[in-house]
């Protein structure tokens, strides 16, 4: 029974070690394939685009999908007679703040981007209110700019924000429903969906919190659980067709990393600081260097967390998009080549999708696990101080061992 229960996590733990390696490869591949594609399209655009305006700008397409947007773009209708591109999108609320003029609320369809004739990527339409004009600057990323040139604080409910709101609504619904079944004082076995929630909760508690956090693990388990489920559900939502690339956005991962950093600092022990600022039994010169490195590592830890999640999720999205775009790149060369490439591209994107499903869970787990490792170092009171570089590896290894032992 134990074996069955831990089998998925055994696989998960195994794939962790593999996936980092594998993902490093796919990362490399993805950037190179994406790069090739982009180059290819650029050349094609130069050759064909000017003559026929038929080619697709792959760069814009891919980065338009992975970056945030002020409207939820669904698809684009191209009118046959006029060659007009009409985007079909859900308008989202825009909230902007200017220090001297206060808040402005309006819907993003005021920018009327979907009535624009396609092609010109840096177009903008303006919205005017109380004598202040805003327009949407579209480069690699959308940006709300005031026409008077004054700074604008953009607090809009963007595509990513909305996706996150959907994600947390789902998360709250699932977890609160599951939590209702737990009544204090009952020793009943879990039923139905509760099983799934419980397996993951127990896994995070026993395999992430317990080995890394020592005695006080129960205090931080809720935090780790929230991080894990928050990232996981948003990773999965991002994989849905038309979904937003929420966890592949650096603002999101920066926010999560900052929260981790704050929690780490708020709970750090005296022992941790004394060892960090005054490592014992070290000659003076080495000590200076060591303290410098340790202080840097303090910042590097959350930055590593931030970049790891961001890069992994972004790369995954870019790879899938690039693979799908390859159909159109081949299609532009030759109609038959395009149709011929469909099965290859589909097969590869299905494979990538499966991998991404795995990666969604793995990245959430890694984020939670590394958070636990860093937290464990910060709250440590005992005499053993694991080297930062080996922390994650040993933690993962010990997890794998723990799982193996349990399955036996």
């Amino acid at each position: 029974m134990n074996y069955r229960r831990f089998l998925p996590f055994l696989i998960l733990a195994f794939s962790l070690s593999i996936s980092n390696f594998l993902f490093a490869q796919t990362n490399g591949n993805s950037t190179s394939t994406a790069g090739e594609n982009l180059n290819a399209t650029k050349i094609e655009n130069k050759e064909e685009g000017k003559e026929e305006k038929k080619g697709i700008n792959i760069t814009e397409l891919v980065f338009g999908h992975v970056s945030d947007s002020h409207s939820w773009h669904l698809f684009t209708i191209v009118k046959n007679d006029t060659k007009k591109e009409i985007p079909v999108a859900i308008p989202l609320p825009i909230i902007v703040y200017q220090p001297d003029k206060g808040f402005f609320f309006f819907l993003s369809n005021h920018f009327e981007e979907w009535q624009n004739v396609g092609g010109d990527s840096s177009f903008s339409n303006s919205y005017e209110s109380n004598g202040t004009k805003f327009h949407l600057e579209k480069k690699m990323k959308e940006k709300v700019v005031a026409e008077d040139g004054k700074p604008v604080m953009d607090l809009s409910i963007t595509k990513n924000t909305l996706s996150m709101l959907i994600g947390i609504t789902l998360l709250l619904w699932v977890m609160l429903t599951a939590a209702k079944k737990y009544k204090i004082g009952t020793v009943a076995a879990p039923k139905g969906f509760q099983n799934f929630v419980e397996v993951v909760v127990v896994f995070i508690r026993d395999e992430v919190a317990k080995p890394n956090l020592g005695k006080k693990y129960l205090k931080f388990t809720p935090f780790l659980l929230t991080i894990f489920f928050f990232i996981w559900i948003n990773n999965l939502l991002g994989l849905l067709p038309g979904g937003a690339n929420f966890t592949g956005n650096i603002a999101v991962t920066a926010c999560l990393a900052l929260i981790t950093f704050v929690v780490m600092m708020a709970n750090s022990s005296k022992y941790f600081w004394s060892h960090l600022l005054n490592p014992p039994n070290v000659p003076f010169l080495v000590k200076c260097l060591l303290v410098l490195i340790e202080v840097m590592s303090l910042i590097i830890k959350p930055v590593a967390l931030m970049i790891r999640l961001f890069a992994n999720m972004l790369a995954g999205h870019i790879v899938i998009l690039s693979v799908i775009c390859m159909i159109f790149i081949f299609g532009m060369l030759n109609v038959f080549a395009g149709w011929g490439f469909v099965p290859v591209s589909l097969a590869f994107s299905i494979f990538m999708f499966m991998l991404e499903l795995l990666v969604a869970a793995i990245q959430a787990f890694i984020f939670a696990n590394l958070t636990a490792v860093f937290l464990g170092q910060a709250i440590e009171e005992s005499h053993e101080h694991a080297a930062d570089n080996h922390g994650s590896h040993t933690a993962i290894e010990s997890n794998a061992h723990a799982i193996e032992n349990k399955s036996k």
């Binding site: 980065f63 992975v66 970056s67 945030d68 909230i95 480069k139 690699m140 990323k141 604080m153 953009d154 607090l155 809009s156 409910i157 963007t158 990513n160 924000t161 996150m164 709101l165 947390i168 998360l171 709250l172 977890m175 609160l176 599951a178 939590a179 737990y182 009544k183 204090i184 004082g185 009952t186 020793v187 929630v197 419980e198 909760v201 127990v202 508690r205 129960l218 388990t221 809720p222 935090f223 659980l225 929230t226 489920f229 928050f230 956005n249 650096i250 603002a251 999101v252 920066a254 926010c255 999560l256 900052l258 929260i259 972004l314």
Partner: protein
Amino acid sequence: MDLLTPEFGLFFWTLIAFIAVFAILGKYAWEPILNSLGEREKGIADSISIAEKVQKEMKQLQADNENLMAQAREERTIMLKEAKEMKDRIVNEAKEQAKVEANKIVIEAQQQIQQQKMAALTEVKNEIGTLAIEVAEKILRKQLSSTDGQDAYIEMMANNIRMN
């Protein structure tokens, strides 16, 4: 690159959303789930330890029972042995006593027989004596009833005296 510069708006909403989710789930999901998980685990562990304890006690009890049984069996054999010994002793004693009694009775009987024999003999002697005297008297009377007899007797008496 644009992709690497975080947008403030998304950062802001993520921060608020995460803290809200953490607060809500922490209070209404993780706490009850973790608490009841812990309780359940404790319950299971307690049940197991109680079961183990009971099993141990059962084993102890069984061992005790076996000990008791063995003891009882031993006692039974001892008692049986004792009873047999006692029976033998009593039988032997009775036999001895009976022998003694019988001897005593025999001796007494012999003594009585002797006594009665003696008494009978004495009586017979006395009877014979009386009879002899009566016979003698009768003879004497007959002999001395006539003058001749008296004379002969006197003569014989006188002869006896003379002889002496």
